[in-house]
Symmetry: C2
Subunit: 238 residues, 2 copies
Amino acid sequence: MSVTTIAVIGGTGPQGRGLAYRLARAGHSIVLGSRDASRASAAAVELGHELEIGSVELRRVAGNVTGASNLDAAASAPVVLLAVPYDGHTELVSSLAAALAGKIVISCVNPLGFDKQGPFGLDVPAGSAAEEAASLAGGATVVGAFHHLSAPLLLDQDADLSHEDVLVCGDDREAKELVMGLAADVTGGRGVDAGRLRLARQLEPLTAVLISVNKRYKTRSGVSITGLTQASHERVPA
Amino acid sequence: MSVTTIAVIGGTGPQGRGLAYRLARAGHSIVLGSRDASRASAAAVELGHELEIGSVELRRVAGNVTGASNLDAAASAPVVLLAVPYDGHTELVSSLAAALAGKIVISCVNPLGFDKQGPFGLDVPAGSAAEEAASLAGGATVVGAFHHLSAPLLLDQDADLSHEDVLVCGDDREAKELVMGLAADVTGGRGVDAGRLRLARQLEPLTAVLISVNKRYKTRSGVSITGLTQASHERVPA
């Protein structure tokens, strides 16, 4: 694993904090972004404390965590994780577009709605939030991943996530490789190459099914792909 | 398990034959449907031979398999499985609507397109093929299931499918229970209550992701839901 700096846009929300925690534990340096830089800094301090609760070994390898405004966070890192609600996504990504140019942008955004029948996938004009980000931030290389991991489990230092598959979609092979590596860092398991970026249309709203399962079975569900015995590097070249 | 008669519309296609084989093995009586009744009868004879290749124990419990036109098949059974391509789905279900009234209709239809970028989910005016069937056959109770099982594995008598989860969606609890039982019959594993019928919008095109994974990893992939330690009957009442 090579260690990098990752900006987590929406880093004070549960999904952002959870992914930041796991990535920092794996040694990456994290810049938590928030609309309010002081909130981001407070969240960074809190996350730093949580890392210190871990074992001595963990504290030794953990990357540092700082906070900044979303824009400063995006500007400060070669890899930027969008972990924001879909509501406001268009405006946010537009405002960050210049800072995202030339970077790898990971979208775990799930455009979901809820009504009395439960959760459902929203209609997204671009097809998916990941494609919308790619369209708005034309200079960035967008990869979709981390849609299905439970935030409370990410933040539970004792939770073993190695059986969860992180489905990774994108059109750039190198960027996808990097994100699959980060997926392994987050879960201790594997990233799975799920195909082209447009398949984010399937990955994002699948979360509505998982939320529905969670409610019915009182659990925190996730996804595993059956039939994969090979390690990710044994994929057939695309 | 209670044994029933199941009509498989599109029963000469790979998915239909595969599901029919597993359901017959579990003791259900199968009526394979096809546009051409004589083709359906020939396929039924062939499937009967495949069942006879199995163990003595298997031959003893296997249900009988017959063939008929799609319309006669639909009219002959209390449970009707739609295992047809999405192309022509609207016309077919319309033509069967009267015969489907009062029945449980299971849709495993996957509306997919393919281009040089690979597979993708088609836009379906009703949201999903399952919802389209429910709309066209207003007197039927439609359940979505069996979207993600590999046809070659279904037809491979030695393939253990017990680790594959069958995601089942529908708005009628009793019908869903019945289909979850059939799912267990097919795989030897479990059906998972995936929520309301409209979530077929997520289940159907997820198959595009699995096909993409199959290509990249040279495998026959499927889906398993993590975080479910409870048996299906321990669900929280909806």
